[in-house]
């Protein structure tokens, strides 16, 4: 069995550590690109959402590299993601490729089924061993997120433009050559040290912008035209509260233990959205409120066309904008979105935030900001 997995930002590193530790064979599909999307579009109906199209693209590209089993995560919320596994299976049949799907979730059949699925990947039924591997994969996820966080912070205040990305790109190149969680962790540590040595200008007071929205579009650089990098190079400090490690810990491990769950965003969203509607809608609403309370300059809301939960939160955001006086911009991505158009909107938004901050400094808030 040769495994593969779809791309979502840096999750391939987590999957790599997971499969390396089990000694499984796998291929990493090429990072998402126009080519991936093109392949996905060829086989998908127009109404499918962008993440699904890219997943299909990943699947086909991995198949061409020799993979025969794909690992994905699932769920059973009202969002479409929960049914990706089934749909990918069907899609593989339609395309005429042999691809087995293993969905890592707690299925209807119960925990036993999940255990047997994991056993298929691990090749061992030693519970201790499996638990150790899962734990170290989780640790990698946490480390990766803190690394991304560090890169975002340094990028906004770096003295020489591009110095952070030089290191960060080196990391993405080197990571494919190391094996196993221990080595991956070591590499991450090295990169952290290198990033900490980047020459920064601490006198700058960068604008602070929060990125909220659908998890795939906010995390996957291809889906958001590397918005974090784009903003960082404009000298903007970016925060993204929804992370892969947060998702793994909250949604997969702590789901059954509500008292351990991080529910700050739920509290903050209570006034606007008291119940969950699926996906990350409650995160979007809650984190926008939290960003406003923490004195952020603005919020960018991203989601792929047709994402049902985010449409609900989009309708609520203007009220938050009004209540807290924080500008929020919604950008919707689909396969027709051009990078230049996207960059123009982001730049205009940042200009507005800058102007707005200047006016506030002079204590004469005359700027109109729209919705």
């Amino acid at each position: 069995m040769i495994f593969t997995f779809p791309h979502l930002g840096n999750t391939y590193i987590i999957a790599k550590s997971f499969l390396d530790d089990f000694g499984a064979e796998y291929v990493v599909p090429p990072l998402n690109s126009d080519k991936t999307l093109e392949v996905g579009l060829k086989y998908c109906a127009e109404a499918h959402c962008l993440p699904f199209k890219l997943f299909v693209g990943n699947m086909v590209q991995a198949y061409e590299m020799g993979a025969d089993t794909m690992l994905i995560t699932g769920g059973c919320g009202p969002c479409r993601l929960g049914y990706f596994g089934e749909m990918l299976k069907k899609q593989a049949q339609d395309i005429g490729i042999n691809m087995d799907l293993i969905t890592l979730e707690v299925p209807d059949q119960g925990l036993k089924e999940l255990a047997s699925r994991i056993r298929r990947v691990s090749g061992t039924s030693n519970v201790l061993n499996i638990a150790r591997v899962i734990n170290s994969a989780k640790n990698i996820a946490v480390r990766l997120d803190s690394l991304e966080h560090l890169a975002r912070e340094k990028r906004a205040v770096q003295r020489v433009r591009g110095s952070v990305d030089k290191i960060y790109q080196g990391f993405q190149r080197d990571i494919l050559n190391v094996k196993g969680s221990e080595q991956i962790e070591k590499l991450i540590k090295d990169i952290e040290i290198a990033l900490n040595q980047v020459d920064v200008n601490m006198d700058l007071k960068p604008l602070r912008v929060g990125i909220v929205g659908e998890i795939f579009t906010t995390i996957e650089p291809y889906a958001n035209f590397s918005v974090e990098k784009m903003l960082g190079e404009m000298g903007v400090m970016v925060t993204r509260p929804v992370t892969v490690s947060g998702w793994i810990i909250n949604e997969m491990v702590k789901k059954r233990l509500p008292f351990l769950k991080d529910s700050k965003h739920e509290e903050a969203a209570k006034k606007y959205m008291p119940h969950m509607v699926g996906g990350h809608a409650q995160h979007t609403v809650g984190n926008s409120v939290l960003n406003a309370l923490h004195g952020y300059d603005g919020v960018i809301h991203l989601y792929p066309l047709g994402c049902m939960p985010e449409i609900v939160s989009q309708a609520i955001l203007p009220r938050i904008e009004e209540d807290y006086g924080i500008p929020i911009m919604t950008v919707i991505r689909d396969e027709m979105t051009g990078e230049a158009g996207f960059a123009t909107r982001v730049e205009a938004f940042i200009d507005l935030l800058k102007k707005r901050r200047d006016e506030h400094l002079n204590e004469q808030s005359k700027m109109l900001y729209g919705n």
């Binding site: 479409r80 049914y83 209807d108 509607v277 699926g278 066309l305 047709g306 449409i311 609900v312 309708a315």
Partner: protein, 326 residues
């Protein structure tokens, strides 16, 4: 007497009897908004975010239609209507969407309807709703029971129609099934009177509500993973039943643009129908730009195709010959 407004959209088309009877039994003045019309839809789409689907926009319009005319608006928050099932996220969140985008709303009765864990929650929902109008629990209980009985008998009547349909097949009569959410299939403005049009062509119409839900649920067991959308179970199971019945001449899938649930469900349904039967299948997509002429053309072509195929079977003329044996 307190005036309770019910927007005529979304799940009204499923639970109208239950809701109206319940409020009437509680001595409330029930005001239902008009059937969707152009004004309602325009009002709705001007207020709603443009990305939402057309039934949601119409629902916005219905709520706005009721403002000023009522003391309460009954806008239940649907999470789930069956065990282990969910409703589409947009329908889940429509109450929040409206509350945060329409100003000066009357008091909202925002009962949460969540039967995912236990069907008993339906009584809790009734209690919560009733307490807006009266403090008398006994009254609420009897009002709920009566309304439920009325609703059940009406549903039974609908089921009865199922055993009737196509029982005595007439030569020229067709039976067309419509697969779609109740709020597009029964909203005559949104679907441009699809049922009436089909009747005019001499076709009987079967909708998903005429089919047995429990059989549908059972039919879905053939899937590796069960749908977590109530509609998915009904549509897929319904398609299986329709194929098995052997009395269906054509299947129409009615969906609204941007419907995420349909994007997956309809594809599986279409796959199933095409693989396991030769029933003609067509997908109709609705949005606020749908033009009636285009809609009609497609519908006519679909019916023509069915009729011709039935009359001539697979007799296809060779070049230069007439197709019809005239």
């Amino acid at each position: 007497m307190k005036r309770v407004g019910i927007p005529k959209g979304l799940y009204y088309y499923k639970y109208s009897t239950l809701w109206e009877a319940f409020f009437r039994n509680l001595d409330a003045d029930v005001i239902v908004s008009d059937t969707t019309n152009k004004k309602i839809l325009t009002n709705g789409s001007n207020t709603c975010v443009s990305e939402a689907c057309i039934p949601i926009k119409a629902y916005f319009g219905h709520v706005m239609e009721l403002i000023g005319k009522v003391d309460y608006i009954f806008m239940p928050r649907f999470t789930s209507v069956a065990k282990k099932q969910y409703i589409c996220p947009e329908v889940c969140g429509v109450t929040d969407m409206i509350r945060n985008s329409v100003k000066e709303l009357p008091k909202i009765i925002d009962t949460e309807i969540n039967l995912r864990e236990s069907p008993k929650n339906s009584w809790h929902a009734a209690l919560y709703t009733g307490e807006f109008l009266t403090g008398d629990r006994k009254k609420i209980s009897s009002a709920y029971k009566e309304a439920l009985n009325e609703y059940k008998s009406k549903r039974r009547a609908l089921k009865f129609a199922d055993t009737e349909f196509g029982a005595t097949p007439e030569k020229n009569k067709l039976t067309i099934a419509i697969i779609g959410h109740s709020y597009t299939v029964y909203d005559t403005f949104l679907n441009m009177e699809l049922t009436k049009k089909l009747n005019k062509y001499g076709a009987d119409v079967v909708t998903l509500d005429m089919l047995d839900y429990l059989v549908s649920k059972d039919s879905c067991k053939e899937l590796d993973k069960q749908f977590f959308w109530d509609y998915g179970t009904r549509a897929y199971g319904g398609a299986v039943q329709l194929i098995k019945s052997g009395r269906i001449d054509g299947i129409l899938a009615l969906t609204s643009f941007g419907c995420g649930v349909d994007s997956f469900v309809d594809e599986l349904v279409e796959n199933k129908i095409r693989k396991e039967s030769d029933i003609p299948f067509m997908k109709l997509v609705l949005d606020e730009h749908s033009a009636e002429a285009g809609f009609l053309t497609r519908l006519e072509a679909f019916i023509d195709m069915i009729v011709r195929r039935r009359d001539n079977d697979f007799y296809i003329s060779t070049s230069g010959k007439h197709l019809y044996n005239c």
